[in-house]
Symmetry: C2
């Protein structure tokens, strides 16, 4: 998984229509792709130029090359979207769609067992990225989408993932300011460290009212073939009628099912749980 690779918002946004810093050719092309995000899934050429920090001429040339190749698609109104060919290649990402494909049957079983919102997430640096989301009928105030990011300490999946990073990473994470989203968000590093120790001991993370006042999540780690934690599965339920002790076994079973499908065999000594 590695070091925190980039902070959110590294992409220069609203940097004006002129190229302020000289950048390499690959960086300019990637800046065009990076102009698209959940808040901006459809962009005009002018939007792309502004968000990528490129001149209109350069943006026009790069968007043309990306469209010709199929990484972008232009709709009849002239607005650009992410294209099917990029999606096909991205579907090969072992931590994206490929993981989702293995996990989906187990997530569906978890949904059948609970009828609540079910998620699968991976860690990228200091954040969780949701790679699957199955919506339950009791839709709690959901603020999360597939591909969305959230800080590790604020969600169940994040706590499950953070608890299974190495001691150095956890110490560095706890030393940074911890963002609050509700009065219940874990912002005290000492308390966060105690909770992470609990998560390691119990194999399960409970995150209560951290993202919204009305919801809690129960999460468990998913292990790869060598026993390292590669993802986390969770359910998000309304706090008012949550029965946490009943949810824990279901979430743990689903996470273990995905782990086994990924090749993890806890019976083999060399594949014991690792963090």
């Amino acid at each position: 998984m590695g070091r925190p690779r980039r902070a959110a918002g590294t992409t220069p946004q609203h940097a004006g229509h002129t190229e302020t810093t000289p950048r390499s050719a690959p960086d300019r092309l990637l800046a065009v792709l990076g102009a698209f995000d959940h808040a901006h899934p459809a962009l005009s050429l002018t939007d792309i130029s502004r968000r990528a920090g490129l001149s209109l001429t350069t943006a026009h040339r790069l968007v043309g090359a990306l469209t010709e190749w199929g990484a972008l698609e232009r709709d009849p109104s002239g607005v650009y979207h992410v294209g099917l060919r990029l999606w096909e290649i991205a579907a090969l990402a072992p931590r994206g769609l490929a993981l989702r494909q293995v996990a989906l049957p187990y997530l569906e079983d978890l949904y059948e067992a609970t009828h609540e919102n079910v998620q699968l997430a991976v860690r990228d640096g200091n954040e969780v990225v949701y790679i699957e989301w199955i919506s339950g009928r009791s839709a709690v105030g959901v603020r999360i989408k597939v591909g969305a990011r959230w800080p590790l300490h604020a969600t169940g999946v994040g706590l499950a993932l953070l608890a299974n990073t190495d001691a150095e990473f956890q110490a560095a994470y706890c030393a940074e300011p911890l963002a609050a989203f509700t009065p219940h968000t874990l912002t005290d590093p000492a308390r966060l460290r105690r909770i992470l120790a609990d998560v390691r001991r119990t194999g399960c993370a409970v995150s209560t009212r951290q993202v919204t006042e009305d919801a809690l999540s129960v999460a468990a780690p998913v292990r790869g073939v060598d026993g390292t934690v590669v993802a986390a599965a969770s359910v998000v339920v309304p706090v008012r009628d949550a029965h946490v002790p009943a949810l824990i076994p279901s979430v743990r079973l689903a996470a273990r099912g995905i782990s086994r499908a990924l090749g993890w065999h806890p019976e083999r000594p060399e594949q014991r749980e690792r963090s």
Copy 2:
């Protein structure tokens, strides 16, 4: 949807370690991404250089830029995979994961109703691209994966999509040689044209033993907000115990459910079925 954008295999493969043709900077970077496909989801630097038709030096520089940005990830053995950040951006593709997210509940209902393999596909040029696949218990000899491509005439989803392209596109398609995968594959253009007319009339496509001898598929078109066909849903079942008349209503209902979720209202005259 537009013209057939590119033939399969446009990417120069096995083009040697030297750059034979001068190409633009965007083309070289995209050639690195294009080196990854279903048969090659994990590549060494040497593999990438060969498949992209780039010198090792150039490949090294471009792979470095892509890895730094998060489009590729390098595993401890030095092998490269498609990275999470590319997946996050590709998740915004309206014809990829975004469409899948809308369609998934209806596909799950179709699976519950039939307990057979369920698919969602879109057209890209002369091919179908599968963007969702839910596996049934009676797993027929399945040769299709998410992100996989198949010629339009050989599958149920392909026939449903081809029947809803314009007359000019259909004429051009039928004039090209039609690849055969079994003795039952539709290779006679006159017969294909008759079948496409049936599909338009009935709103449903049945493809029998075209891809493998033991399977058939039943497909129906999915319409977008303006009534144009944007995708197709299908079930694939073993020929030996298929009861096609019973499958047709389920597939049509699922496809209409997805269409409605995409904003199609067949009751409104301006949103009638369009091809």
